[in-house]
Symmetry: C2
């Protein structure tokens, strides 16, 4: 039996989260089609509530909890898009959310979490301190941990973006998603291959955080020890759970350099008039900068989020 | 009888251009609604083909020409969005387009015109030289001039954006459009007030190019002698034709400062994940920065285009 959640679980997640999320549009671009020599279908999760696909997973877990469990609140230790999504989904359910954030995390992200009603807890900037802070909150309050990817309910819900993409785009040859902890890519692969057996699924990863590439090529789960990339949403490493799914389903992982991330991000901003964050640009880079041969193919591309600190862009413009 | 084209002419233009343009989406934003204390409906012409609403007017004129007239081609002297739209619409009709561009115009805009198949003709950077160059081409080739706004066919077609907006958003209290030569604002006012009598129509204009404000407040057509604004699409002045329409229909013109244009542009990029150009930000600024009281109202906002040179933004980020 294949690893991970089933298509049925993805459909169930979709029904649960549908009232709380946007059904994001699938955009085309004639000029980018020409550039790639392919038919590109961009699933715009940068237009999702809270600005990323993380809203899907967080909402599914939070709305899966029983009344008494939910009432004690939720906790997570992600300063990025997942933290904002947990805060937002918790507010929709009317329960408290604690988000553990490492000292020094961007002001703008902390403010987003607080704006969505989450309580920001700062800690030392290392994994042990973050986990300890989350554990302390769980013990004190009885709150439930919402993990960013190592959870079948999260994986199933992240797969709902591909579900919608295939419904809207029709038959595709290939679908690309970024890979960090592997939740989105796992859910995408399960949804796509369950709906269209034979569809090729490719992950895209920064060369500076290449644990998924190394894991799949070595056959052993590897960690990114010191990830260095502008793609701040792609610095996590696979778990045993997501590694098992990706080994079974993913054709390959394509590595993208830092310059390529910025070039692809600019192309999407310029041609599609869509603000995407660096973590979203890895899929666009793979297709638009010739990192993978897609000529003549129908290609689905997950644009995962649009939360980028515009300060540096506007400061000197 | 009111000045300018009728609703029937707008509907006719819409039928003519529909096969060639995108029906752009109307986007909402919960966070911007909260900021404005109103219900905002953003008509996203930044997602229009060629990146601006200018595609509507240019397409209408070019597809209105008889076979023999069209065959001799079209000419315009706008280096900006109108020039790109004329080039693109001409290619769709399969006819030549000459676009007169002042020496020193941004490389990126000249390239866009050439990419769309237009022939770029450079001239000295003043109005007399541009008009002379266009006249020379017309005399030599028999090409037809496509004026950016002083033409009822252009005004009718620019009104089709408001037509779609009202169809999608339903009843509105107020609609805002930027004003430069007045084509978009005139068409918007005619469409909106014909469909929803009593709807308020407000123009938004950079304080550094305030000819429409001065014209409406003095009752005399005024020109912007030396417009100074980052909103490069809003430096033209009203014509007698557009002034007559605006006098009859527009409640007021709101002036927007340069800092406000950048602040509103950033808000739209950040919250809506949409790249809009400075000329589009004047409407957003009016509503989001408290330049006009919209509390509790349903407000339609024309986001007119998304063609901004991203070089300076990416250079130092």
């Amino acid at each position: 039996m294949p690893s991970g959640p089933t298509l049925a679980a993805i459909r169930e997640a979709h029904a649960r989260i549908a009232p709380h999320i946007h059904r994001t549009p699938v955009f085309r671009s004639a000029s980018l089609d020409r550039l790639a020599g392919a038919e590109l279908f961009f699933k715009c999760e940068n237009l999702q509530r809270t600005g990323s696909f993380k809203m899907r997973g967080a909402t599914n877990v939070i709305f899966s909890l029983s009344e008494p469990v939910a009432g004690r609140g939720v906790v997570t230790h992600s300063s990025g898009n997942h933290g904002a999504a947990v805060a937002y989904a918790a507010r929709r359910r009317g329960i408290p959310a604690w988000v553990v954030v490492p000292r020094g995390a961007p002001e703008v992200k902390q403010r987003a979490i607080a704006d969505f009603g989450g309580e920001v807890i700062t800690c030392e900037p290392n994994l042990a301190a973050r986990e300890a802070a989350a554990r302390e909150i769980m013990e004190r309050t009885g709150a439930t941990l919402v993990h960013p990817y190592d959870d079948d309910r999260i994986i199933a819900a992240q797969g709902t973006a591909a579900l919608e993409l295939l419904e809207d785009a029709g038959s595709l040859d290939l679908v690309l998603a970024p890979v960090s902890g592997g939740g989105l890519l796992s859910g995408t692969a399960i949804a796509a291959q369950s709906l269209q057996p034979g569809i090729r699924v490719v992950g895209c990863e920064p060369a500076g955080a290449d644990d998924a590439w190394r894991s799949l090529h070595s056959g052993q789960l590897q960690k990114s020890e010191k990830p260095e990339t502008i793609a701040d949403g792609l610095r996590a490493s696979l778990s045993e759970r997501t590694f098992a799914i990706l080994r079974e389903r993913v054709e390959d992982v394509v590595l993208i350099g830092e310059r390529e991330i910025l070039d692809a991000m600019r192309l999407i901003w310029e041609r599609m008039k869509l603000v995407i964050e660096p973590s979203s640009a890895v899929t666009a880079a793979a297709v638009l900068l010739g990192k993978i041969d897609v000529s003549g193919k129908r290609v689905g591309i997950l644009l995962s989020g649009g939360n980028v600190d515009l300060g540096p862009f506007f400061h000197s413009a």
